[in-house]
């Protein structure tokens, strides 16, 4: 256990020296593994064993069938960006909500939620929505703080509302059903939209000038806008509906597994973008290239995480933690509180994926040993990960907004985000206290198939 803790500290040091996470975890994991096998860091036999483990990890992760969803969901999101669907989603929610005080910010949150249903990444959701919603909120005199914050927070929903790359990775790391994880994300995601809308209301109640009312739309205009989101609905229904056997009816019998859903979604988004003239040969190439680069970076970091996690596993850290908890008879809820606290603290500095990779191998065995549901824990981990994206000092979604918008300070955005961050804590508490909210959909899912 001591070895694992030293290893963990070393990884942190290397990562803070800005060594890419894959190399930090890979290096420490390799020597740690050799140490655990031979009792020495430089024993030739131990290093030989560790090297074989590393070599196989590189070979097998690269050829993982389950991981093929990752590039396909990224690809789907990037094709969606080229198809104008973000603008349509925004237009619809604005037609319904825009006339209220703070309404355009609420519409932004709702549109982020809708976009999350066809995008697997929070950063992509925030980046896309900022291009659409920011100019509108500026036009109607919304404060910089509220407008950037609603996009930064709304964007975090991308990894909770299915599809979600982070849920896929959690599922693969823990051998939990990806189909069930996706199902489990829906209600907490909807709660996210609701709570963020309340955060907007709170902001404009405190300072009415932050979000003046926009123009009111009549019902004909609203229904007109609603008609334009067919593509978003089509794509969502294709991916999520297909997963749960919605089309398994006469005469098509169209069904697919999570892995295939990603391919269907990517192809669907590609065809929609193509039919709308949003794609040229060179922009298709750019989309494919960006996807390949992102996916390769993700695969690399996963390989590093696996190597490190094998060292932690061999060193017996999960068993040691379980041992401590059992020995001192710590009640499960106290352990869970500790874990949540650790996540919120880590969330200050870590971005979503690194946090997941570092912590899940250590906490997951402990949490399941204590009797918590693995699907529920996955959603909890994703919600704390979402929170980390808007927690100072390092909040990636805030940085994305800063990057896209330009002349606004991160301080302004973080201040604007505060009500949303507090709303997130309430949502987290609700999910922890009422696991039913997470589990009701996946538990009743079996009935839907056959």
């Amino acid at each position: 256990m001591t070895a694992a803790l030293i290893g963990f500290a070393l990884v942190l040091v290397l990562v803070l020296m800005r060594m890419p996470i894959v190399f930090a975890m890979g290096l420490v994991g390799t020597f740690g593994f050799a140490f655990e096998r031979s009792g020495s860091l430089f024993d030739a036999w131990g290093l030989n064993a560790a090297m074989s483990m590393v070599g196989r990890q590189i070979i097998d992760t690269a050829q993982s069938y389950g991981l093929s969803v990752v590039p396909l969901f990224i690809l789907m999101g990037l094709f969606v960006n080229k198809s104008g669907m973000a603008r349509e989603l925004y237009a619809v929610s604005n037609a319904f909500l825009g006339h209220m005080r703070g309404g355009i910010a609420m519409a932004t949150v709702a549109a982020c939620g809708g976009f999350s249903a066809i995008s697997g990444s929070s950063l992509a959701t925030a980046a896309t929505m900022s291009k659409v919603a920011m100019p509108e909120m500026r036009r109607y005199g919304y404060s910089e703080g509220l407008s950037t914050a609603s996009i930064a927070a709304g964007g975090t929903l991308g990894i909770l509302i299915p599809p979600s790359v982070i849920l896929v990775i959690y599922g693969l790391m823990t051998e939990t059903s990806i189909g069930k994880l996706f199902m489990a994300g829906i209600i907490p995601g909807a709660l996210g939209i609701l709570f963020y809308i309340l955060a907007v209301r709170f902001t404009v109640w405190r300072n009415p000038d932050a979000g003046p009312a926009g123009p009111r739309f009549n019902w004909r205009e609203r229904l007109g806008a609603l008609r334009s989101v067919w593509a978003v609905l089509l794509l969502f229904v294709l991916v999520i509906g297909g997963l749960y056997g919605v089309f398994d009816v006469y005469p098509i019998y169209l069904t697919f597994s999570p892995t295939e859903a990603a391919g269907m979604g990517a192809m669907g988004a590609f065809l929609i973008a193509l039919s709308r003239g949003g794609l040229t040969l060179s922009s298709t190439f750019e989309v494919l290239k960006d996807t390949a680069l992102t996916a390769a970076a993700l695969f690399s970091v996963l390989i590093g995480a696996q190597i490190f996690s094998n060292f932690v596993n061999l060193a017996g850290l999960p068993e040691a933690l379980i041992g401590i908890v059992t020995y001192y008879d710590v009640p499960p809820y106290a352990v869970m509180m500790m874990i949540l606290l650790i996540y919120i603290v880590l969330g200050c500095v870590f971005e979503s994926l690194s946090m997941l990779l570092l912590t899940v191998p250590i906490f997951f065995p402990l949490v399941t040993e204590l009797g918590y549901d693995p699907i529920w824990f996955g959603i909890v981990v994703v919600v704390v990960t979402e929170i980390s994206l808007i927690t100072p000092p390092v909040g990636l979604n805030v940085f994305i907004l800063k990057g896209v918008v330009g002349n606004v300070t991160t301080g302004t955005i973080f201040r604007g985000v505060t009500p949303f961050w507090i709303a997130d804590l309430f949502r987290l508490a609700l999910i922890v206290l009422v696991p039913w909210l997470v589990l009701v959909l996946p538990e009743n899912m079996g009935a839907m198939g056959h």
């Binding site: 593994f33 096998r37 036999w45 030989n48 064993a49 560790a50 090297m51 074989s52 483990m53 070599g55 196989r56 990890q57 070979i59 097998d60 993982s64 069938y65 389950g66 051998e175 059903s177 990806i178 189909g179 297909g242 997963l243 749960y244 056997g245 398994d248 019998y253 069904t255 697919f256 597994s257 999570p258 892995t259 295939e260 094998n310 596993n313 061999l314 899912m445 079996g446 198939g449 056959h450």
Partner: protein, 315 residues
């Protein structure tokens, strides 16, 4: 204990491989060595096809391999996968070890590691979402089948093969992407087939059997003192452990059968005499083909097949 052997394993923690077989192995090792040797089970170090490399290079001391995961590497192991043998997993595992010891080991397919046990699960049967009444109903179904003999049998029966890794079986069936799966009865519990494939169609002797081995790092074995090595060779490795593992596979089948009887909407159909005869005819081509393939590796395939058949015949 003086020596702790690290076991690398891959199935889910609740699977019989990890919940019963490795504990049984450990119990036998501890007993044979008066507690001087024990084990430490580690899950998820690497996916199944990586296990042999891991053991060969000492990343762990022991592991379990499923021969069907490495197409091209293991040919002689197809002999035990053939349909047509009767007999429990225990009897089949004992016969398999003997045939391995006498004939199949000559092909040296496990070179680089020490073979500790050879075993097979119970006869694989057909589990489907919609009830199958006769062998003709199988034609046209989309079935999840393994590689090797299981795949050949599925094809010969006219089914469309769906290839997904075992942990994805539940989702694949739940989503309707496959109509059924050919697996040992044991998996009805482990993979929750009672929920997604309630109907069991049983062919006496099964559609195929899966071939497994326990393997060990040669250096890890050599480093043990001589008296321990002797004790392990005599009391654990080889036939004794193969037999015990076979028993566990059988108990798993039994447990799943009872679960199936209790589970709502689950049915069991045993193939009629006519269907059995038909299946025998269909599978004879596959048997000849496999014996030829095994013969090409230089081992006496006919003799090995005879040995397995005679030890595993109904009478």
């Amino acid at each position: 204990a003086d020596y702790t052997l690290t076991i690398s394993s891959w199935a889910p923690p609740t699977h019989n491989i990890n919940a019963k077989m490795w504990p049984k192995f450990t119990e036998m090792v501890e007993e044979a060595t008066d507690g001087r040797v024990t084990t430490d089970l580690k899950l998820g170090l690497a996916p199944p096809p990586a296990q042999m490399d891991l053991i060969q290079d000492g990343a762990a001391d022991l592991s379990i391999i499923f021969h069907g995961y490495q197409a091209g590497r293991f040919v002689t192991t197809k002999l035990i996968e053939l349909p047509g043998y009767t007999g429990s997993a225990e009897e089949a595992s004992v016969a398999y070890w003997r045939a391995y010891d006498k004939y199949l080991s000559n092909a040296d397919e496990h070179r680089g590691v020490k073979v500790v046990a050879m075993h097979t699960h119970g006869p694989a049967q057909l589990h489907t979402a919609d009830k199958v009444e006769s062998i003709d109903d199988i034609s046209g179904l989309k079935l999840r089948v393994p590689g090797g003999v299981g795949g050949d049998v599925g094809e010969a029966l006219g089914a469309t093969g769906i290839k997904v890794p075992a942990p994805k079986v539940y989702e694949t069936l739940a989503s309707g992407a496959a109509d059924g799966v050919v697996m040992p009865v044991d998996s009805r519990q482990g993979f929750k087939l009672t929920e997604v494939a309630p109907h069991l169609y049983e062919m006496p002797g099964g559609f195929y059997r899966g071939s497994f081995a326990f393997i060990m790092n040669e250096g890890s074995f050599q480093r043990l003192p001589e008296d321990i090595r002797t004790a392990l060779e005599e009391e654990v490795f080889g036939e004794p452990i193969s037999r015990e593992i076979g028993k566990i596979w059988d108990a798993g089948d039994q447990q799943s059968l009872e679960l199936t009887k209790e589970a709502a909407g689950n049915t069991m159909t045993v193939a009629s005499e006519a269907d059995q005869a038909k299946f025998e005819e269909i599978s004879s081509g596959i048997i000849d083909e496999v014996i030829t393939q095994v013969g090409e590796t230089g081992v006496d395939a006919e003799a090995a097949y005879e040995m397995l058949s005679s030890e595993l015949s109904a009478d």
